[in-house]
């Protein structure tokens, strides 16, 4: 009995297994850890390491019976949760233990107002209705820092920003003053500046309410900032656990050490003012018309990219950073002439503005692109060889079968994949390997200029730094020029020789990367860097909520 008094949650020997078809996959393999009242425990690991499955089994929210627990027990305040009936567990869920999910877009019901969503929980667990419920809702919204909560009550989720939605989610989780809050990657979908605010908020409410927190993340920076104790998970097992201080300063397991060393090396391509300009834009604009009324008259424009001048010299990497919605991806697509734009674009001395699709084709092999989503950017119905060959079909239609095969093999070797991979299909590869395939598709045409649109954002930390190394290596060997678009400043700082900071479609600040990182001039840039590198929030008004 004494042992359980200072343990709020006790997970012993827990296994989770999923059945798909006749196959049984062990997602979590006999893990044990515990959470004391008021303590923050972080579960860190790559995607697929079983951290979310662990968190969901605490709530018994896994898709039973496809999921099962071959072994283990979960004790919450001494009561066994796994054997508890559905009726009893519902009383624990949302009351004693609550959860916030990663995606604030889909975690809120789009058809209900904020008041109704929070009110539902108050009604279910506390029986609050009418004025009492409303007062409590306003109190909660104030607590999570929603400005002017009274007027926000009747808002629908789509009227709120991502950060505000996550705040509402937190308000819902706090509604019944839980003893344990499970946060499943609550900031992964948010911009860095908003992430910093949400983390600060979580820390505040935790200390105020004295609740414990089980924090699931892949970001070691957050762990260090927030957690008391950390469990490092790999392939369903906890390979190391202990106080954050100890694990970070003296990691014992090789995997933990690898994770901590996974910071991408800062070694950008050198600036070369004498090199020829590869791409040059003058006053580039992408305006989407806003049409209203019966006659669909244009009443205004959404200025996704608004008068941007970009010049990239051969062999350099131009980093473009900014939050979501700042227009950085649109800028990349406009430069590649994949969306229509106004303003002049000069590519290797040729003005390519206004050329139609046919006339653009001769330039396509020299300008390539790698997209963010390794799952979406490869056609699932084509073999790797077909995917990489496609560009060769277009640009070298007379090339022999052997010639194409040779090029595909070379491209695969260049990106560090076994050439035998060409006979397989994309779904057989992990995210990092798929990004390599996407890269192979780009370099097989021997381009001069490659637009990298967040190529590392969807990848795990360890693989991110490998990808950065690969990109740098390819740049040197193949003399590539990169336009590197990312919101992840750590990755950008590892590669970019020059940097552009974008906000609302405009360039806020630009210059050589080293200089910019060392001495940012603009307030917004400073706030962005502080949030990205130190998870610190900026003074009110500089960044969006």
């Amino acid at each position: 009995m004494d042992a359980t008094v200072n343990k709020l949650l006790e997970v012993k020997n827990l296994s989770v297994s999923f059945r798909q078809g006749s196959r049984e996959t062990l997602a979590v393999d006999r893990i044990s850890f515990d959470v004391a009242p008021g303590e923050t425990v972080a579960l860190v690991g790559e995607s697929g390491s079983g951290k979310s499955a662990t968190a969901l089994s605490v709530m018994k929210l896994l898709p039973y019976p496809a999921a099962s627990h071959p072994s283990g027990e979960i004790r919450f305040k001494g009561a066994e949760l796994l054997s508890m009936s559905e009726r009893d567990i519902r009383r624990v869920r949302g009351n004693d233990i609550t959860i916030i999910f990663q995606e604030p877009m889909t975690s809120l019901n789009p058809l209900h107002t904020i008041e109704k969503q929070i009110g539902e929980i108050l009604l279910l667990h506390r029986g609050l209705t009418g004025q009492a419920a409303r007062a409590r809702t306003v109190e909660l919204l104030t607590q999570v820092g929603i400005p002017d909560p009274e007027s926000r009550l009747r808002s629908y989720p789509h009227q709120l920003s991502g950060g505000q939605r996550q705040r509402v989610m937190i308000a819902m989780a706090l509604a019944n003053e839980p003893d344990l809050l499970i946060a499943d990657e609550p900031t992964t979908a948010l911009d860095v500046t908003v992430q910093a605010q949400i983390l600060k908020l979580l820390k505040n409410v935790q200390s105020r309410l004295g609740m414990a927190m089980l924090f699931i993340t892949h970001d070691l920076g957050i762990v260090r900032k927030l957690a008391d104790k950390v469990c490092v998970m790999k392939e369903g097992k906890i390979v190391e656990q202990g106080p954050v201080e100890r694990v970070f300063t003296a990691p014992t397991h090789p995997y933990t050490r690898a994770l901590l060393a996974a910071e991408p090396k800062r070694d950008p391509a050198p600036l070369n003012p004498a090199a020829p300009v590869v791409i040059d834009t003058k006053d580039l604009k992408v305006w989407f018309p806003v049409k209203r009324g019966v006659l669909r008259t244009t009443v205004g424009h959404i200025k996704a990219v608004d008068g941007v001048n970009v010049a990239v010299r051969k062999g350099e990497t131009l980093g473009i950073v900014g939050e979501s919605g700042s227009g950085k991806t649109t800028l990349g697509l406009a430069i590649l002439r994949l969306i229509s734009s106004q303003g002049k674009i000069v590519f290797l001395g040729h003005t390519i503005t206004g050329l139609n699709f046919e006339k653009m084709r001769p330039f396509r092999h020299a300008m390539q692109v790698v997209f963010q989503d390794p799952y979406g950017s490869l056609s699932p119905r084509m073999s790797v060889s077909d995917i990489i060959e496609e560009g060769l079909w277009v640009h070298h239609p007379k090339m022999s079968k052997e010639g194409r095969e040779e090029k595909v093999v070379r491209a695969l070797r260049d990106v560090g994949l076994d050439p035998e991979a060409r006979f397989r299909y994309p779904h057989e590869f992990s995210g990092g390997q798929r990004q390599r395939i996407a890269m192979a598709r780009a370099i097989v045409l021997e381009p001069t200029f490659v637009v990298l649109d967040e190529p590392t954002s969807a990848l795990d930390m360890l693989i991110q730094s490998q990808m950065v190394d690969l990109l740098r290596d390819l740049q040197k060997r193949l003399h590539l020029t990169y336009l590197f678009i990312s919101h992840d400043l750590r990755v950008v700082s590892a590669l970019a020789s020059r940097l552009i900071v974008m906000r609302h479609g405009k360039v806020v600040e630009e210059g050589p990367a080293a200089e910019l990182f060392a001495r940012p001039q603009n307030d917004y840039t400073r706030a962005l860097f502080a949030a990205a590198f130190n998870l610190e929030t900026a003074a009110e008004g500089v960044v969006a909520q």
Binding site: A53, V369, F371, R381, E390, V394, D418, E428, F429
Partner: protein, 393 residues
Amino acid sequence: MDDRTIVQVPETSAQSPMGLAVPPSGQLVALSPINRRRWENFKANRRGYFSLWIFLVLFGISLFAEFIANDKPFIVQFDGKYYFPIFRTYSETTFGGEFETAANFRDPFLQKLIAESGGYTIWPPIRFSYDTHNLDVPTPAPSPPTWMLTEQQCAEVVQRKGLTGCRDLEYNWLGTDNQAFDVVARLIYGFRISVLFGLTLTAISSIIGVAAGAVQGYFGGWTDLIFQRVIEIWTSVPSLYLLLIISSVLVPSFFVLLGILLLFSWVALVGLVRAEFLRGRNFEYIMAARALGVSNTVIMFRHLLPNAMVATMTFLPFIISGSVMTLTALDFLGFGLPPGSASLGELLKQGKNNIQAPWLGISGFFTVAILLSLLIFIGEAVRDAFDPRKTFR
């Protein structure tokens, strides 16, 4: 959890992160892994899988209807020479008859001639074609199945033919209809024409529908807007009445009916394919293909069409059964295939008109019901097979 199900190969070294290489599969028809998984899923739905086999067997048999139910024998040996009446028409004089007309091998006179020459005939299992009148019906047509006849009912025929009893008569396993046509023969031929009609209609209307949907979805904008409005107006035309009017003006034949039904059935897939293309054209790999300079046609065929085919394939069995049903309905109403042709709908109509002859209605009903059920079961299994989230115990 999806991450764990794909092959996880450690990515720690940039040199050979692939680990084990998998050699290319040496099969002749190499199914892509996705299709292999679909085939497994399809097989996992036992009901659909068996339905497919039963359907294929039935359809296969019905394709050879002439070899199963025919009023012409496979082989006739006459005067030491072999004749193949099932493939060629011979005149009666060939066998020593009197007329220049085509030989009727069911004629006892001709049979006698052949037998007297020391020859023999090899018959298909059922000696009636769909349009062979049974001249020896024991009761006024429609006549019941032979095994249901009482001795009293067949006494007259038995006597006329010099036989000993009902069991010696030539069997009409499911009786005859009101024109003394053998019901089994008509069912076999009717099944064939229904399925062939369904398949042809589905194939042609899918091709048109997919093409129209693809163009609308891929290009969007005004193309889409105008096409959609036209289709909306077109589908609001009461098609059944129009069909009735047209088929009363034109002489209905297999291909006329096909054409008429095609006018309306092609729209079935348009919405679906259009939606798939609208969704698909924003995928990153489409954008990547455009960045490679791949042309619109190639993008539509190589990248987008396979996506749309999933939804299309899922619908196909249901469209086939819908087409079969439409043809049956038109035949039932008397606006279908020309009089005399074997058709399931016509049999049902006879069943309705001859309540006193339940073998007509019952056999017609069961054939249509079994055919449609098989198609629906196959359709369900196909739907399962293409469902990426479906898992089986």
